[in-house]
Amino acid sequence: MVDALRRAHSVLNSGGIVIDIHPTPEPAHLELAAGSEFVRLADRLDDGTVSGPRRRHMAADAAVLACLSPEMFNRDAATDFTFRTHADTVEELLNCLDSKWKQLHFAAADLSRARDHLACGDGSAVVVTERVTASRLVTRPR
């Protein structure tokens, strides 16, 4: 990850910027949405390995910090935000996760609970919610 940022630095104009968007280590979770209300059902499964989501997102944070130096970048702005993916059925959500987020998994029992809630037909949606950080890194003048 540090190498990727170094590579980015090498292809930027002097004064160019890196915009980095990556999830925070906070676990993605499953919610039910009804109108503007969100009820948390469960956290994602994470095996805790180096390639698992939490460790990977922590490594991304560390890589950004490692590149804040007089020779590389100055971070002049950063913000966190909530990123939600809504689906009307658990199956739609699972198809999306399968194609986009291969490392994001939820327990079968939690998905079953979500199905039961959605079966009530009260207009709810099932939602995956992530906390994400966005940073603006400015190159030092060369």
């Binding site: 990850m1 190498d3 990727a4 940022l5 590579r7 980015a8 292809v11 930027l12 104009n13 160019g16 910027i17 890196v18 915009i19 980095d20 968007i21 990556h22 999830p23 991304a60 890589a63 950004v64 002049d76 702005a77 950063a78 913000t79 966190d80 935000f81 909530t82 990123f83 939600r84 993916t85 809504h86 689906a87 009307d88 739609e92 959500l93 198809n95 999306c96 194609s99 986009k100 949606a125 994400v132 966005a134 940073s135 603006r136």
Partner: protein
Amino acid sequence: MAVRVDPENNEPAALNRIGANFEDRRVLEVGCGDGRLTRTFAERARSVVAIDPEPSARADFVRTTWPRHVEFRSVGIDGFEPADRRFDVVLFSWSL
């Protein structure tokens, strides 16, 4: 109904908060995927090189009709050869 990604538009709002300006910029987007984020700034940019080494990315990306100043390459940042090009913005789209 289809899956709805960030219907609250929190991601573009966050980019605005940190001053991510793509207007007339030469942009290298790393990990463009299907171009979900590319679509939000491509029209404003001077040029966009969108890269992603995932085998499925090219097929997903070219489903959108892009302006002529947007190009896709099947490569990661480590293998990317810019020749003599330099960029004003490098965007890591959930790819670090």
